[in-house]
């Protein structure tokens, strides 16, 4: 019990301080910032427009003028990757947010109240889960029509069950703990108990799943774009670029390489940041 504990620390600030100490997480945060800045200043960064075709220079390997090479229409891949970050990041984050919020809420309610509420929600989730995620997204996108917003909604809905299940499982474990009973004993309302006691204690699995979920969302969105239900060409989107380049992978592998790398880098940065956040949020690991 040293002196510094007397100081008044807010939990948020302390979490941040702890996160700062985690080098890998800070590296992830750095990459993520770079990606976001790229997305915002795409107009300034990209040397060409994303839809500027130059058939004479098609299938060019990375060279001085086109550092990532060009695609089958001679479009500059670097510019497309830069512009693509706008769409992909947006799709990834918003779709995951939809899934986390909706799935989290459903899972929390199912886990906390149990009984028929639980049954009803979880059976509905089972129905959604029994349809392959991509297929589900396809049908939702088909029903709502193509377009960026619908793409995000479709991808989001397709991953709701995953979050619902994870949250429900951790809520089931945590609600049995005595501190929840203690909160009830002092007369805390159910909603407050759920928000203040239960959900913060199931953050860890949600964060880990969400970081992976962004990757899944980007790829699902790509799949949808591929079959014409997502982003209309020529709007660049990493997943779409990747699936498009698949046919040329033997001869022009760099066409796959760069959008692939962009996705991998995003996911990597999110994962290390997610791990770091999870540790930073756990007061038990406080030194």
């Amino acid at each position: 019990m040293n002196q510094k504990k007397e100081k008044r620390y807010s939990l948020t600030r302390e979490t941040f301080t702890r996160l700062m100490k985690n080098r890998l997480a800070m590296f992830g945060l750095f990459i993520l910032c770079v990606l976001v800045i790229t997305a915002i200043f795409a107009d300034q960064i990209a040397p060409y427009s994303y839809d500027q075709m130059d058939l004479l220079n098609a299938y060019k390997a990375p060279c001085k003028g086109h550092i990532f090479g060009t695609d089958e229409f001679g479009r500059d891949i670097f510019s497309r990757v830069v512009y693509g970050s706008r769409i992909s990041l947006k799709v990834g984050f918003i779709a995951v947010s939809i899934a986390v919020v909706a799935g989290g809420l459903l899972g929390a309610v199912a886990g906390y109240y149990g009984g028929w509420t639980d049954n009803l929600i979880m059976r509905a989730m089972d129905v959604i889960m029994s349809i392959p995620a991509t297929l589900l997204a396809i049908s939702i996108a088909a029903a709502l029509g193509a377009g960026l917003t619908n793409l995000m909604i479709a991808t989001g809905i397709a991953s709701i069950p995953t979050y619902a299940r994870i949250v429900r499982a951790s809520v089931l474990g945590i609600k049995e703990q005595e501190f929840v009973e203690a909160a009830r004993a002092v007369g805390t309302r159910d909603f407050t108990i759920l928000c203040k006691h239960i959900l913060p204690n199931c953050l860890a699995p949600i964060i880990v799943q969400a970081t992976l979920g962004v990757a899944f969302a980007i790829l699902t969105a790509a799949g949808l774009s591929f079959i014409g239900l997502g982003i209309e060409p020529p709007t660049p989107e990493w997943g779409a670029m990747l699936s498009n380049a698949r046919s040329y992978i033997r001869d022009y592998s760099y066409m796959c390489l760069f959008p692939g790398l962009a996705i991998a880098l995003t996911i990597f940065s999110l994962n290390v940041l997610g791990d770091g956040l999870r540790d930073a949020l756990d007061p038990k690991l406080r030194q």
Binding site: K5, K7, R8, V186, G187, R189, T192, P283
Partner: protein
């Protein structure tokens, strides 16, 4: 004799399980006078903790009444019950799992205030938290520490502070010292007794540790498989136990004195299952004095000397029937 603060009448709590109906608390009645302590003793699974929780409506009762100053709290609406919880609090056994690991000491203690006293400014709340921390012997500098940084004794003090901040009249202490080392246990027991005197608290003290219960309680009730088998003041129950189970339980306590070797009653076998119990006395499967009548009818609680006992042996009528039955 003063009015009982709390009266429990024919309290029942059954849980539905896959194997059948689990009779956790089966027709339990007792009362506690204001400012006194009732010790509730029994082995694991006998329903003592459930009784405590049903009284506070942390579990809903299957049947019976819980009268608090004459008012049946089992019938209160959720809103009225929230108001009632101000008067009735609980301290949990496990000082590890009963504190939210993500909350600081101050926010843990403050929580119930946030629920109630909406008009209170944060400075007032802080004053109140610090005052209660002084009262339970928690150093003020720990206000912003987290539970896992503290030892078991201090954590249990947080639990007590949290229960006391609303100034309750009645506190259920559910095995509050079982997870603690003897020296810390003694500190907490003394604290609880001091607080009782100072704040005129009424306790329901639940424990499996008879020596601890004897130390703190005025009256002791012994439970076995959901039933109350004996109740008496703490002197009587130790000097003159009536129920065979109470006798066995008392003789099973290891005595920290190598010169004393009292005769020990070793109970055969294990506690029977509380699921779909057969009629008759629940203890008869392990009782050396079991008579045919024990399998037929459950013994009622009856006054016997200074104690109340539920045993056919202590009921002259049943013993007579048994004797006649034996002769035939």
């Amino acid at each position: 004799m003063s009015e009982p603060l709390l009266e429990v009448r024919h309290l029942k709590k059954y849980f539905t399980t896959k194997k059948g109906l689990l009779h956790a608390v089966d027709d339990v009645s007792f009362s506690i006078e204001e400012g006194k302590t009732l010790g509730l003793v029994g082995e694991s699974g006998c329903g003592k903790s459930t009784t405590g929780r049903v009284i506070l409506r942390l579990h809903e009762a299957t049947g019976g009444e819980v009268l608090y100053r004459g008012r049946n709290i089992l019938e209160l609406s959720p809103r009225e019950m929230r108001e009632m919880r101000r008067k009735m609090q609980i301290v949990f056994q496990d000082p590890y799992s009963s504190l939210n690991p993500r909350m600081s000491v101050k926010s843990l203690i403050e929580e119930s205030l946030l629920q109630r006293s909406r008009g209170m400014s944060s400075a007032e709340r802080e004053q109140k938290v610090l005052a209660i921390m002084d009262l339970v012997g928690l150093e003020r500098r720990l206000a912003y520490a987290f539970p896992h940084e503290l030892d078991g004794g201090r954590r249990q003090r947080i639990g007590i502070a949290r229960a006391l901040i609303l100034e309750p009249e009645f506190v259920v202490l559910d095995e509050p010292v079982s997870a603690l080392d003897v020296c810390i246990q003694a500190q907490i027991l003394n604290l609880l007794m001091d607080l009782q005197k100072e704040l005129k608290l009424t306790y329901l003290f639940i424990s499996h540790n008879l020596s601890v219960v004897k130390h703190i309680s005025d009256e002791i009730a012994v439970m076995y498989l959901g039933k109350l088998v004996e109740k008496a003041d703490h002197e009587t129950i130790f000097k003159d136990p009536k129920h065979p189970y109470t006798k066995a339980l008392l003789s099973a306590i290891p005595i920290p004195d190598p010169t004393l070797h009292p005769e020990r009653i070793i109970l055969e076998g294990d506690v029977a299952s509380p699921i779909n119990p057969s009629p008759g006395c629940r203890f008869r499967t392990r009782c050396r004095h079991a008579m045919p009548v024990c399998g037929e009818a459950a013994p009622e609680l009856m006054q016997n000397g200074k104690s109340i006992v539920a045993c056919h042996l202590c009921n002259p009528q049943s013993v007579e029937t048994a004797r006649v039955g034996g002769q035939e």
